[in-house]
């Protein structure tokens, strides 16, 4: 079971869009996929029309009052399930802090799902917290959406520096440019220059397109309601890159 997470300290950079679309594409490719909406804002749960409620809340999950599997909901799409958000996730740090080995709790919770899923996507809330540290320990590849600005180079270096400072298992980092506007010269410059000097940056970029924003209106992933669109194509490229870079084996069950 491969675990991926979309993560950034900042909000509104395209984390949820990436998590939703990549998870959909993984299911489409034949991987048994779970998307865990860890963000109390519950945007991913909303897109999949799943009520953002988990019995027992964050505390119940972390204490192990009920198995994680009980809270999973099937989406409208084959092979793609969702672990919905819950408003109590905003206090997840507190619940984690009370547990033993607080930074390893998410890994422990996900362990029993290994036989059921090939891929897990974590859609993370924007912050640096105990939750983020848990995520960094649990995942194989950290997907980091970056908006191409002058600060993006610095943001990327800060993040890789932080990850390098971690003890124990560290995730691979795959950053990708998000909300790219090719009409802006700055965007063009940075998306061309930065990947040449930083190895962890994907060549696929996600454009700023109204179609991506439409996900919240259509309440479905882009490749589901506009499979031939340019936006869907870009997410497919990103998915292909993630799959190759993470060394994800072919799915056992053909889609």
């Amino acid at each position: 079971m491969k675990i991926f997470a979309t993560y950034n300290i900042k909000g509104g950079v395209g984390k949820t869009s990436a998590a939703v679309n990549l998870a959909y594409l993984a299911g489409e490719a034949g991987y048994r996929t779970l998307l865990w909406d860890l963000d109390p804002q519950a945007a991913a749960s909303y897109v999949f029309r799943v009520r953002p409620r988990v019995k027992g809340g964050a505390k119940g999950l972390i204490r192990g009052a009920r198995p994680l599997g009980d809270a999973i909901k099937g989406t409208d799409f084959d092979l793609l399930d969702l672990l919905p958000a819950d408003f109590t996730y905003r206090n997840m740090d507190l619940a984690l802090d009370k547990a033993k080995k607080p930074a390893r709790q998410l890994s422990r919770l996900l362990g029993p799902l290994a036989g059921e899923y090939d891929i897990v996507f974590l859609d993370c809330p924007p912050s640096i917290s105990l939750v983020s540290e848990n995520i960094l320990h649990a995942v194989h590849t950290l997907l980091v959406p970056i908006i191409p600005t002058t600060l993006s180079e610095r943001t990327f270096d800060q993040l890789t520096g932080f990850i390098d400072s971690l003890n124990g298992s560290r995730p691979e980092v795959l950053a990708f440019f998000s909300m790219v506007d090719r009409r802006k010269r700055l965007h063009r410059d940075i998306t061309e220059r930065l990947p040449a000097s930083r190895p962890g940056i994907a060549s696929a970029t996600i454009p700023a397109m109204t179609l991506v924003e439409q996900m919240a209106v259509r309440r479905a992933p882009v490749p589901a309601f506009a499979p031939r669109s340019a936006a869907a194509q870009r997410y497919r490229e990103l998915w292909a890159e993630l799959r190759t870079r993470s060394g994800t084996a072919d799915p056992a069950t053909p889609g």
């Binding site: 489409e28 034949g30 799943v50 999973i72 409208d76 799409f77 084959d78 399930d81 589901a224 053909p254």
Partner: protein, 562 residues
Amino acid sequence: MLARRIATALEPRYSIAQETRRRERQVWLDTFDWRLHSAGLVLRQLSTGSGRGGHSMGVTGSRPSAELVLTTDAGEQVASAPLGSPRWPALLDAIPAGALRDRLDPVAGVRALLPLARAEGTMTLFRVLDGEHKTVARLRLEVASLAQPVGGTLPARLVLTPVRGYQPDTDRAARLLAAADGLVPGSRSVFQAVLANTGRQPGDYRDKVAVTLPAPAPARAAVAGVLLGLADTIEANVGFVIRDVDIEFLHDLRVAVRRTRSALKLAGDVLPRDLAARFAPEFKWLGDLTTPTRDLDVNLAGFGDLAGRLRAAAPADLEPLRVQLAQRRVTERRKLLRGLRSARFAELMTAWRAALDDAAAARPRRGRHQGPDAGTVAADRIGRAYRRVVKRGAAISAAGTAGGPPAEDMHSLRKRCKELRYLLEFFGSLYEPAALRRAVKDLKGLQDCLGEFQDAQVQRDEIREFATQMLTQRATQGTRRHHRPAPPGPGELAAAPRRWQPAPAGPGAGELAATLLAMGELTARLDAQQRRARAEVAGRFGEFAEAGVLRTLGIGGRAAMS
């Protein structure tokens, strides 16, 4: 129409959205002897006309053109597998390796899957949506009519499948559907409707035959009835043997012939005069015709097991033997088919049936006795067969030869045991079922031991025969090679003068040696198996003799027959 009724039943809490609709063909499959049905399983092949499903809510991965789905009688899915372009009947290896084949293997074994019926119709998939337009369940509506072997209507089938995490919604939707007019919770499976239409009855083929008449009925009619049943078995299997569908058809045919011969030998005297004498040689011919192919079938089916037991040699060393067996089977099957397609066989079966029908129906001429009754004949023949077993067995036990009795005595005792077993089967219905079961069980222990010995003996003889053949073949090929060297290849004529040379020992000599050594090891293993059986036989016989089969069945001393 039906979709409208479903939608109305679910309103206002749920709505439905059609996902796909496609033409679908269904084929129900089982083995000839209903093994799947006996195990509470239903196997269906579903295929779409276009070869593509187009299912699944925007997920666009390609889907197989056909799918095999195994369910329980109650309709719960057990396993499924994609399938290319299957042609039925087929053996299990036509199914891709995986959960479905693993589940079927212990049930169907070497038996082929045969199509029982074929239906054509449409399959429509709906999503059941809640107020948020979230899919909470899926509905599959199958509307089909039987196309083969006969036409007929089938009840429409509606299957509701929950989406994970939405079981309460699925339960609620199921309740709403169950309360709707014209929709009945499926107690009677579509498979039962298929069978009712085709007139088939699960278990309508059995490889066992027993008298169906009561004990006071004339023995002549009872024995003729048994033989007619055996003739049915022979004829039910012969077509499948000719098509080489699976190896059990030949086995069942052969057992029916052997039972026929035993019945003629042991109770043929109650039939009209000359009938047994007339037909016995013909059934011997038929039995002999089937022997070589059956022996090869057994060897090839058990080959993997046998090769796996090798310790000093590698299983691959035996491959030339397997090839030899397979080639020999092709030749032997040709002879078998010539026999089964011959006028001699056709005439035998026609004349045999006519004679048995006469025997079963014939009334004795006025003033003449109608002959002994079935009960008396059964007691008499079982009694005699039992005493023959006891006599041979006692002789074997008394001889106390070091290492056990000689092979011929073991074989002879085995044949006597078989005769007793067949008589118990033919006349079994005249006795208490529990008593009969116990009698058969007592006999079976002894039979198993003797069977193990004899099977090993047959295999040893065959291995020796094959080894001789392989060496002879190689010697012949060597001589040919010596006299006829390969013609020169292009460009070789200009080379140094070619000299005649004896054929080299050549590649294959090493391979042959490895095969023969492996065969030697197998022989040693079979010898050990025989020693074990030999050492056991006296003890097994003692248990059998003590059990007192006749007493169990309530057959007293020497039955007197008029």
